[in-house]
């Protein structure tokens, strides 16, 4: 199972087409870009795992402020180091593809924003999220006062059961109201 040599078998290709939202061309393009990341000897091994640093050299991910979180979320490695196999990479592209459903996109968005991986977005997660969105430099950060006001407003609007955190259903409730989300949660190679 996994990729051998530099060619994808036909069965494997159709299996990937059934299990992901990607079209045949997109899968082949993903395979090409992924093998470019491998060194010469790694190309012959099946099921190679590429380290996070090398994955982050892809131009589509290089400047994304959530790049590390994306790698951690889609990685299936035991050491939780954010390394990706080709199938993890396909999972990533499938969730970010044009035809993925709103449910799966919002699910993965929630996991990406959950910086401490505890299943809910609490104040710490929200603060880190806002800092990623506005940039980490001093001039683009919000002041403490603004941040506090912002997080209060967010929790007031989206925390329906008033437990101080935003869980997955509340998150998906907010997302379902946004018409832009599906078109902006997209990475196309």
């Amino acid at each position: 199972m996994g990729t051998t040599a530099s060619q994808l078998g036909k069965d494997l290709l159709s299996e990937y087409q059934e299990l992901t939202f990607l079209t045949k061309q997109e899968i082949l393009l993903a395979h090409k870009r992924f093998t470019e990341l491998l060194t010469k000897d790694e190309k012959d091994l099946p099921n190679t795992r590429v380290s996070m640093e090398r994955v982050l050299t892809l131009p589509e991910l290089k400047s994304n402020p959530f790049r590390k979180r994306i790698c951690y979320v889609f990685s299936t490695s035991e050491q939780k180091d954010g390394s990706l196999t080709f199938e993890d990479f396909l999972d990533l592209l499938s969730a970010f593809s044009d035809s993925a459903t709103l449910e799966i996109k919002s699910h993965y968005a929630f996991r990406i924003f959950d910086f401490d991986d505890d299943g809910t977005l609490d104040c710490g997660d929200l603060e880190k999220l806002v800092n990623c969105l506005t940039g980490e430099t001093d001039e683009t950060r919000l002041t403490t006062e603004e941040m506090r006001q912002l997080i209060n407003n967010i929790l007031e609007e989206s925390d329906i059961d008033k437990d101080g955190t935003v869980n997955l259903s509340e998150f998906q409730h907010v997302i379902s109201r946004s018409p832009d989300f599906v078109s902006s949660f997209k990475i196309v190679l």
Partner: protein, 693 residues
């Protein structure tokens, strides 16, 4: 090991109580879940008790990684469900239908125009600018398809049947009314060709371009008949209906979302924070830009909240002063707009009086209405912006108010131009006045008035394109060169140009409205417009990438697309009013065109119907009569009431469910507190026992 992990998952996972047996057996490679890390792979695979024809789609939309999905699929495939042959046939059909849909979608992607360009624009300049270019592409496709429609039903039959065919109505009118000789007399100088190209006169006037060239003929063979005037009329009507359907279909998704989110509006902040990042941003510069953009939006919203709080705390005195000021400024803006309309009215009258002059001066007189409209559309919004500064609305309201004023100005100025033309053609609507008595229209000035209106629209279209190119070459490029090479305080203050989406979109809507108005009189106008919009796409793209800096304040993408289409519908309705009026009220010219000798253009329809069979005629009359339309109207009202009731029921159930969620959250907190209290009670005896030892 597995069951323990699953039990841990069920303790801290909110989805834990819904685990299906299948995923538990199958998750052999569940990664080591350290408590308290959340166990995401315990989310259940979709229920496949019914329809495993839904199987592949469910697997795709289940958030498991590839290995898990593959294992689930294997298990599902091993299970051979006992189904009837009809069930399996249905499933196979559904599967092949889905495959066909996927394949068609892949095939259509090949034909998507300019998709790489659009992606690049979106990544570097944001969704708002990209939505402008998407709108432009939509209009190109719309115009091209409508041209194919017109070509197929009007142009090609006219070309083919030009020499064949008999005149439909054999009556004649007064001699003076039938005089129409558009061919240029005498020696034609070379530069006249160029002038004629720009103003649609001369060699262009008597050609397939304009209404006047089409003939009042009908071809009637043994087994084939084609009625050209009827085809012309029906094509024009169908063109409008087709454009309407196209636009509404496009509005479909956006409208559905907009209506569904009605009711309690989720506030801005969660929406901005959760959904505003654009993962398609490429490169450091675009990312930093997007971050600055989001920072700006959040600051603006927080500031607006504080302003609202402050505004709510104004004393009554201050409020009265503010509102009086706003009303006054509104009147001033309105006055400016009315002033612009009067200017257009005067310019059109002057231009029509002086028409027929030769040379460059004549060209300027011809283009005078277009010049005045463009100048008005440029100056008045500038002044309205200054007025808006005094009015001190909240920032979001200011943008909407400015846009509405600009839309009003553009479309109604076009309406004023048309109204002035109409006045001159029909002698102010007074068919008894001296000039209009003979032919019911002003035959001295307008031997073929439809062609003249078509020429006017053609000139507007062409002038719009020329102005865009001229501004590009003479204003935008020099501005960029000045700002880049001249490090002066003034140059820095002026800065590089910003790509303002709203005014560009209004320009497109204006151009499209002109084309719609003129399509009845100038059948080739959609083709010219297609070419114009393609040129415009490349020009705007060049100026975007070379001259513009990205705007800090951006438009929201999907809501803005909806807004663009609504504004386009305003333009469409203006054009429809013009078309209906021309079809029904004004007498067609007797010297030219396919409708000569008819009292009005629409009267060809009843006349042709008289050649149909008795039953068809009676059926059609019945549909048009009151006995049919009133019950139909009542039926529509009933259906609409049903949908309104349904919508309110859904809204109420949403509110009920939210309240229920709130209560459940409180129950959960109460239970957690109870658990803590109990565990503390249980632990305290242990402590005392432990301390005692």
């Amino acid at each position: 090991m597995d069951s323990e992990i699953q039990r841990q998952g069920s303790r801290n996972g909110y989805h834990g109580d819904q685990q299906s047996l299948r995923s538990r057996q199958v998750s052999s490679r569940v990664s080591n879940q350290n408590y308290p890390q959340f166990n995401w792979s315990s989310t259940p695979a979709e229920d496949d008790v019914e329809g495993s024809s839904e199987m592949p789609r469910d697997l795709r939309s289940s958030p498991l990684h590839m290995a898990l999905k593959r294992a689930v699929r294997q298990v599902q495939q091993m299970q051979v469900p006992v189904v009837s042959s009809r069930e399996s046939w249905k499933r196979n059909k559904a599967k092949s239908l889905r495959k066909l849909k996927d394949n068609t979608r892949e095939f259509l992607y090949l034909f998507a125009l300019w998709s790489k360009s659009l992606q690049k624009i979106g990544g570097n300049f944001g969704g708002g600018v990209q939505s402008f270019f998407l709108f432009l592409r939509f209009l190109v496709v719309l115009n091209f398809v409508s041209f194919l429609l017109i070509a197929g039903f009007v142009l090609i039959p006219s070309i083919v049947f030009r020499s064949v065919g008999t005149g439909l109505v054999n009556s004649t009118g007064p001699e003076e009314c039938m005089e129409y000789d558009p061919n240029p007399q005498g020696l034609v100088l070379f530069y006249n060709y160029f002038l004629d190209l720009l103003s649609g006169t001369g060699f262009m006037e008597y050609s397939y371009m304009f209404y006047g060239y089409y003939n009042n003929t009908m071809v009637d063979d043994t087994n084939f008949s084609y009625n050209i005037p009827l085809a012309y009329l029906f094509t024009a009507v169908f063109y409008f209906a087709f454009c309407l359907i196209f636009i509404i279909a496009r509005m479909g998704t956006a409208a559905r979302v907009a209506v569904a989110t009605g009711g309690s509006a989720v506030g801005n902040y969660s929406m901005i924070v959760f959904t505003s990042w654009d993962y398609g941003c490429l490169g450091d510069r675009a990312t930093k830009l997007k971050q600055k953009n989001i920072h700006y939006r959040l600051q603006v919203d927080l500031e607006e909240e504080m302003i609202k709080k402050r505004a709510a705390s104004l004393t009554t005195n201050q409020k009265v002063v503010l509102y009086a000021l706003r009303v006054f400024m509104c009147l001033v803006a309105f006055g400016l707009i009315i002033g612009a309309f009067y200017g257009i009215f005067l310019a059109t009258e002057f231009s029509q009086e002086k028409s027929g002059k030769e040379g460059i001066l004549g060209l300027i007189f011809e283009y005078l209405p277009s010049i005045v409209i463009t100048a008005g559309n440029f100056l008045v919004p500038l002044m309205c912006d200054q007025i808006a500064l005094i009015e001190r609305y909240a920032p979001s309201t200011t943008v909407i108010v400015a846009l509405l004023r600009a839309v009003f100005l553009r479309l109604v100025s076009l309406g004023v131009l048309l109204f002035t033309l109409w006045r001159q053609i029909t002698c102010d609507g007074n068919t008894e006045s001296a000039e209009c008595k003979l032919c019911e229209y002003n035959y001295n000035f307008y031997p073929c008035w439809e062609t003249r209106v078509g020429q006017e629209m053609y000139k507007l279209t062409l002038f719009d394109l020329l102005i865009n190119i001229a501004v590009l070459v003479l204003v935008e490029f020099p501005r960029r060169m000045v700002v880049d090479n001249w490090s002066n305080k003034l140059a820095q203050w002026v800065g590089r140009q910003e790509f303002v989406v709203s005014s560009n979109v209004l320009g497109l809507v204006y151009g499209q409205t002109v084309v719609w108005t003129g399509a009845l009189f100038c059948p080739l106008l959609p083709l010219i417009n297609t070419v114009k919009f393609i040129i415009l796409f490349y020009c705007k793209r060049i100026t975007l990438f070379n001259n513009c800096r990205p705007a800090l304040k951006t438009f929201r993408s999907t809501t803005s697309t909806f807004f663009f289409l609504v504004v386009l519908l305003f333009g469409w309705s203006l054009a429809t009013v013009v078309m209906v009026y021309s079809l029904a009220e004004i007498r067609p010219s007797m010297g030219c065109g396919p409708f000569r000798f008819f009292p009005n253009m629409w009267s060809i329809v009843p006349r042709s119907f008289s050649s149909l069979s008795e039953t068809t005629e009676e059926f059609l009359f019945f549909i048009g009569s009151q006995a049919f339309s009133i019950p139909l109207f009542v039926l529509f009202c009933v259906v609409m009431c049903y949908f309104i009731a349904l919508a309110s029921v859904y809204g109420k159930s949403v509110a009920l469910l939210r309240a229920q969620l709130k209560l459940e959250g409180r129950d959960k907190q109460f239970l957690v507190k109870q658990i803590e209290k109990l565990s503390r009670q249980l632990q305290i005896p242990q402590h005392t026992a432990g301390a005692g030892q």
